[in-house]
């Protein structure tokens, strides 16, 4: 009862990195609350293949559901696994990835249990809450912290009365680390039919193509990111050239993605990828909070902007006052000249 749960997402028999990141965070929260960390995994033919990818992150107990029809993921069976298990286990917190799966599953589970769910959190903390209207004091709630409303503010959300407190978190926001402390590492193989009625297998996946990521933006040591100030798709060609020279990757702000200059999977920020590179070169990016949330932990931040008042300049180590068009070719030129 009252433990911290993490739903582990899989592709065949590979556990998603975001799930391992959340297990790491979940372990810390469980330690703070003095409770156990439990994990859930559901798939087909996973027994003996996924446990080693889950238990090392400090899991006390893993609930494994292995049956035909649980992979590829469809909404209803996975929803009923969580809903029925939670009715027995009564967790206080449930975390899942803000992935296509997590964002399909989380709301359905939260609606079924009438518990609150906060999407795309960038921080999770434990703290107290005083409800001024009812005068009630609550200890040890989960603070679900996220930029809101176009990134103009950061909101701290709590669910005082309803359990579990649910949150989704994007890949890369938390950092994964194998747990050094002690954990029970118990695995329970569940009777799936007890949790999932036959009627749940109603949506059939008839065709599926998953490609390995075309780039490694999340793990790139150097990121060259472009915003609205890049001005065009052709402008981005220049950024790709700079990134190639530096052995880095190209990222983008939401404005540049929305303008259609660069693929959606390169978007950096709260609703995109979170990166932690050694060097982050922001080209023509003003620096909305949504974007900053996805790159603020970068080592060295270089901002190229012709607006000296751009918010991103405040967190930059180097501010270059100039247009992208003017500055980026010079960066390429002088890097080439001096690096050899």
């Amino acid at each position: 009862m009252n433990n911290v749960f993490v739903y582990c997402e899989i592709e065949n028999t590979t556990v998603a990195e975001v799930s391992q990141e959340l297990l790491t965070k979940g372990r810390k929260l469980a330690n703070q609350l003095g409770v156990e960390l439990h994990a859930i995994v559901a798939g087909t033919g996973i027994k003996g293949k996924v446990e080693d990818q889950i238990l090392p992150y400090g899991v006390d107990k893993l609930f494994a559901f292995d049956a035909e029809g649980l992979f590829p993921y469809t909404s209803a069976p996975h929803t009923d696994i969580l809903v029925n298990l939670f009715k027995e286990e009564k967790p206080q917190i449930c975390l899942m990835g803000a992935t296509v799966i997590g964002r399909d599953l989380g709301p359905r589970v939260s609606s079924s249990l009438t518990s609150g769910l906060t999407a795309d959190c960038t921080q999770l903390e434990i703290g107290d809450f005083d409800d001024k209207k009812s005068g009630t004091h609550y200890d040890n709630l989960l603070y679900q912290i996220r930029p809101a409303f176009g990134g103009n503010i950061v909101a701290t959300i709590v669910n005082p009365e309803h359990r579990p407190q649910m949150a989704t978190v994007r890949s890369g926001v938390m950092q994964k680390a194998v747990y050094e402390g002690e954990a029970k590492h118990e695995v329970v193989y569940m009777d799936v039919a007890k949790y999932v009625p036959e009627a749940d297998y109603v949506v059939k996946v008839i065709d599926r193509h998953v490609e390995a990521a075309k780039h490694n933006l999340k793990g790139a040591p150097i990121v060259v990111a472009g915003g609205y100030g890049v001005g065009s798709k052709e402008g981005f060609d220049m950024l790709f050239q700079l990134a190639k020279e530096l052995h880095g990757e190209v990222g983008a702000s939401r404005a540049a993605v929305d303008a259609g200059w660069v693929d959606h999977d390169r978007q950096i920020g709260q609703t995109g990828v979170t990166v932690h590179p050694k060097v982050y070169i922001a080209c023509g990016i003003s620096g909305q909070i949504q974007h900053i949330a996805g790159m603020q932990d970068s080592g060295i931040i270089i901002s190229v902007n012709n607006d000296p008042e751009a918010p991103i300049n405040k967190i930059a180590d180097y501010v270059i006052n100039g247009t992208v068009e003017e500055v980026v070719p010079k960066l390429i030129k002088y890097y080439k000249q001096n690096s050899k």
Binding site: L117, V203, K314
Partner: protein, 289 residues
């Protein structure tokens, strides 16, 4: 056979152009202060609905939205593009709703309408980016769901074939109706307004938008289709305790404007000397290789 299709659509503040007074002191959105637009992915959903209607003669498309009286604009925008009807949920009791209270209200209204073969909406709204309302409406109605849809490829014998976006790829699913679908922004854009329909519906509105001195009063008596459905909590037999702020399990504890921890930064010009100097510095310190 004709299908009954309900499109869930939301009028949203254009978060791409937000001013400073966007939030109230309570941490909810101050919608009155912002330009209001049709949520972009809801337009993608409307297009899929209209295509289903085109391919299945006898089908109807209705727009269901919730908001202040001016959100009736969303219904008009739907009618201009080929929708047949619409419903505006508007009531102070609906205000301050989180996603769960919103989906309760929408699900209750859908039941009041008498259900549908297809309930379809955008994946998420740009003012919240949560993507929760679609799945929560599905759960409340006990329907299956397909999220992140890009195209409804087929509709045969009560089964829809839907291509959907997944992380790192695409998949195609078969799902029986009735069903709730949410549509991704990568789906086909919505058709433009039809000039004839704009002429037909431009004076359509909900009673709350009307003022005593409004012209065209006799027009509304003559043409009932110009009076759009306006429903309160009571009209949909809703439980006030499950609506709005009261029905929202999530509470906003704190809202703060971000103050960046200013770093000691070096400010350079775009001159060759400055840029070469920086590159040399980064190379010397082995920050770049």
């Amino acid at each position: 056979m004709g299908l009954k299709i309900i499109v869930l659509a939301k009028q949203v503040p254009d978060t791409r152009n937000v001013g400073k007074d966007a939030m109230t002191a309570e941490g909810t959105v101050n919608r009155a202060a912002l330009p209001a637009i049709f949520n972009p992915e809801d337009l993608n959903a409307l297009e899929q609905a209209l295509r289903l209607k085109d391919q299945n003669p006898g089908s109807t498309v209705g727009i269901l939205t919730m908001g202040p009286p001016r959100a009736a604009e969303i219904i008009r925008q739907g009618l201009y593009r080929g929708a047949d009807t619409g419903w505006l949920l508007t009531d102070r009791l609906f205000a301050g709703a989180d996603t769960l209270a919103t989906s309760y209200a929408l699900a209750t209204a859908i039941q009041k309408i008498g259900g549908a073969d297809v309930v379809i909406g955008g994946r998420q709204a740009i003012d919240g980016d949560t993507a929760q309302v679609g799945p929560q409406v599905a759960q409340k109605l006990g329907l299956s769901q397909v999220t992140y849809a890009e195209e409804i490829e087929k509709c045969e014998n009560g089964v829809l074939t839907i291509r959907r976006h997944i992380d790192g790829g695409v998949e195609t699913v078969e799902a029986p109706m009735p069903i709730v679908i949410t549509v991704n922004g990568s789906a086909a854009p919505c058709r433009p307004c039809n000039a004839k329909l704009v002429m037909k519906y431009k004076r359509a509105n909900v009673p709350l938008e009307r003022t005593a001195d409004m012209p065209y009063a006799e027009l509304y008596a003559e043409r009932p289709y110009l009076t759009l459905n306006q429903w309160s909590v009571a009209d949909v037999d809703g439980d006030p305790e499950q609506c709005g702020l009261a029905g929202s399990p999530t509470k906003v504890k704190a809202v703060k404007n971000i103050v960046f921890q200013a770093k000691e930064s070096k400010t350079l010009t775009a001159s060759d000397t400055d840029i070469e100097g920086m590159i040399k510095e980064l190379l010397d310190e082995k920050i770049i290789g």
